[in-house]
Amino acid sequence: MTRKQRRLSIVAGFMLTLGVAAALVLTAFEENIVFFYTPSQLAEKNIPPDRRLRLGGLVEEGSIGREADGVTITFRVTDTVEAVPVRFRGLLPDLFREGQGVVAEGSLSAEGIFVATGVLAKHDENYMPKEVAEALKEAGQWKGDHE
């Protein structure tokens, strides 16, 4: 095999791999990008059920409840303007509290309940999920850092 052929075969292999990778990336991006919404944005935009998304805001005071099976938890996420009911089956993070920042990932059910597959709360007392902090600032509800 000459030097030219060898180079050609390597370039061909390279293009092929790159093409496959590009195709994989594009389809994966199309299907797996998860957008972040606040309760107000969720109310504004008409999002079809079963589309994966992230919902962020504060856990509404007095909204936490537990269903009969004991491991399904319901609460409402609010940005003080709008509130969305959330249902989550699982163990809540250690720092999940009423009135504190939370990000839930999941999708809307046909009845408009947000069914969460994962719930992220603050890592510690000083930390507020960044998206939530910014969203609250926009809603004019931000009271400054906890520090």
Binding site: M1, V20, L24, N32, G70, L92, D94, H123, D124
Partner: protein, 663 residues
């Protein structure tokens, strides 16, 4: 006083690094022996000064000197000594000081052990290393001074995040940094070679041990991090495709590719341009990882700092390093001609294949990690790219490279025969088919993709073992002869055997634990029995207790199998007061068949608790396999060729007998 001493030493180190970065570089250009000779002592002095600075900060932590702001914000007098020491790097400023310390130690090691390098080349390597140090030292001194005073000092410190008070995480950052910064050696060697305009087999042989060492450290660092996430976060997961995890995984992928391509440069004098480029990219990805984690653009446990000045500084530095080195590469690389010819099916071909797929896979991880950041910066739109994206892109790209891992070492240099290699791997082929058949019969309840995926792991282990057996001529020559070969053959090849088998074990662990995992999420009353993964688990209730620096709730589970008691599990939920924080301590029982993992949740009334129980088959193979990989790296590092040092350039590069039978 010691804080000022440390600060002063750091300022001096910056001055020394500036001199070390400029004078030897110019000296090597002009051929001035005296200027060139400055590099070694300067590297030693710089290293010493940074050791003093690091010692000063450690001293402030150990003696709980709360007049130092950094100590007051991150330590507490009631902390155990181990966590006082590891608290030094459990924060932004201290972790950067550790970064600089490791950089200086690597530079010092080149100065000390680099006796066999030609003086001008060594001077250039040390100068590049010093220029990196200049960037990081100014970053520490101007934006993140760990020695800033706090007056009047508080009575006690604010404490270290309890999540970080853990042996697994205590040593995770140093190993990660040893890996990141270790790749700076490959970078410095690459840039020095570009300045000289010469890359040859001897160059590859100098670069290889440094890259290998960095790779081993990074593997340990990533392994420790994922192990910590597994037992400490209480979610039962060990890898989340979190941007911070990806930040350490990208240099690992590029570094793995670099390890393989440098073999081709060393043995066949080919792929030189690509290897130099890879060395530059690997370190750039390490810097990018540092930027992502340290600049606060990501929200996670790792992001200590959210000061925009810091982010812009690292970003600017990253830009200078990447643009500068790539510019130099564009200028000089075309002049370097490739050497030996090879057919697509050959050892070289297999290594190119490995590089192509590893770097493409690295690029897909890069896109998934950075796309949300770009989108946020450009349009303010907030998105996340989760695990499904990475499973759909990274997974398929890994399959061919994993399959090729067993074949590559069976192919000869220059021209190989795929069918012949497969025939020589007949036992491995048989073992793989047997594994396929057995999982199909025994464990067909999982996702069907898991069955071939598991077989890939078996193929890699069996292939590595069969290749090793053939190298020993096992059962074909007397046992004594095989033993002699075991000792005499180059260790680099044994390293490859272990590393490849280790990857196989990791694959098996990942596949088995995710495909056949059993998860139970239920409310349990005292006395209730639950069956998980073939075990009967009895809940005996939960009670409050008092820990050394926390309070908590401890659940009690009895585990039995077929009526015989196996073990007791006691998961905890803890509340730390300094700083106030709650953590979950999962209880894990590791058996030969996998882990039983228990987490205690919240009380639901009447003495009942919400609990989560997992059975994760073979999950421990992930970390066991990583250790085997590192062991392989260490064996390869102990190869005679690295110990006796690199041969002189050109003249004898091909005359070393051991090189004939290689990796």
């Amino acid at each position: 006083m010691t804080a000022e001493l440390g600060h002063y030493a750091l300022v001096l180190a910056l001055a020394v690094a500036l001199v070390q970065g400029l004078v030897p570089l110019y000296g090597a250009h002009r051929g001035e022996a005296g200027w060139i000779a400055l590099a070694r002592p300067a590297a030693a002095v710089q290293c010493l000064l940074i050791v003093v600075a690091f010692g000063a900060l450690t001293n402030a932590y150990v003696s709980s000197d709360f007049s130092v702001l950094n100590v007051a914000s991150n330590s507490h007098s009631a902390k155990p000594l181990l966590y006082k020491i590891t608290g030094v790097w459990g924060n932004h400023e201290g972790s950067l000081l550790l970064w600089v310390l490791i950089l200086a130690l690597f530079g010092g090691a080149v100065a000390l052990f680099g006796g066999n390098l030609p003086a001008p080349f060594r001077a250039r390597v040390l100068a590049v290393q010093a220029l990196i140090a200049v960037g990081f030292l100014s970053f520490v001194l101007f934006t993140s001074n760990p020695f800033a005073r706090l007056l009047p000092p508080p009575v006690d410190g604010r404490g270290l995040n309890p999540l970080l008070q853990d042996p697994g995480l205590a040593f995770h950052p140093p190993f990660l940094y040893l890996g990141y910064v270790g790749f700076s050696m490959a970078f410095s060697f690459a840039v020095a070679a570009l300045i000289e305009g010469r890359v040859d087999a001897a160059w590859a042989r100098w670069v290889r041990p440094w890259t290998l060492a960095a790779w081993c450290f990074l593997t340990v660092g990533i392994g420790l991090g994922s192990w910590w996430a597994y037992y400490e976060l209480g979610w039962g997961g060990w890898w989340f495709w979190d941007p911070v995890e990806n930040a350490s995984f990208m240099p690992w992928l590029a570094g793995t590719a670099l390890l393989h391509s440098s073999i081709v440069v060393e043995k066949r004098d080919s792929l030189k341009n690509w290897t130099v480029l890879l060395a530059i990219l690997t370190f750039s990805l390490s810097l990018l990882g540092t930027f992502l984690v340290r600049s606060g653009v990501l929200t996670s446990v790792h992001a200590f700092a959210t000061d925009p000045a810091r982010g812009s500084f690292i970003l600017a530095f990253l830009f200078v390093v990447v643009a500068g080195s790539l510019g130099l590469y564009a200028l000089r690389a075309p002049a370097m001609r490739g050497g030996g010819l090879f057919a697509p099916v050959s050892r070289e071909g297999a290594l190119v294949f490995n590089n192509l797929l590893l770097s493409t896979a690295c690029a897909t991880v890069f896109l998934g990690t950075l796309y949300p950041l770009f989108l946020d910066a450009l349009s303010g739109q907030k998105i996340t790219v989760g695990p499904p994206y990475f499973h759909a892109t990274f997974g398929p790209l890994m399959v061919p490279v994993l399959l090729a891992t067993a074949l590559g070492p069976m192919l000869p240099w220059k021209r190989g025969d795929l069918l012949g290699a497969l025939q020589r791997l007949k036992f491995a082929v048989a073992a793989t088919l047997a594994a396929l058949f057995l999982t199909l019969v025994l464990a067909h309840d999982g996702p069907w993709l898991a069955i071939p995926a598991l077989a890939i792991g078996v193929w890699m282990i069996a292939g590595a073992l069969e290749e090793a057996a053939q190298r020993l001529r096992l059962f074909r020559v007397p046992v004594a002869e095989s033993l002699r070969r075991l000792i005499r053959l180059p260790r680099a090849a044994w390293g490859a055997t272990f590393a490849h088998a280790g990857v196989g074990a990791v694959v098996i662990g990942i596949v088995a634990s995710s495909a056949w995992q059993e998860e139970k999420l239920v409310v349990m009353r005292p006395g209730e029995v639950l069956s998980v993964g073939g075990y009967e688990v009895t809940f005996d209730g939960a009670a409050e207790f008092q820990g050394p620096n926390y309070t908590g709730v401890r659940g009690a589970f009895r585990v039995s199998r077929d009526g015989r008691a196996v073990t007791a599990l006691q998961p905890e939920a803890r509340n730390y007061p300094n700083p106030p924080m709650a953590t979950t301590e999962a209880a894990i029982r590791t058996g030969w068949d996998g882990d039983l993992y228990a987490v205690i949740g919240d009380p639901t009334g009447d003495g009942a608790w919400s609990t989560r129980l997992y059975h994760k088959p073979l999950v421990h193979w992930i970390w066991f396999g990583s250790l085997v990989m590192v062991l392989g790296g260490l064996i390869s590092l102990s190869d005679r060729r690295h110990r006796v040092g690199a041969p002189a350039r050109r003249t004898t590069a091909d005359a070393v007998p051991a090189a004939a039978e290689g990796d």
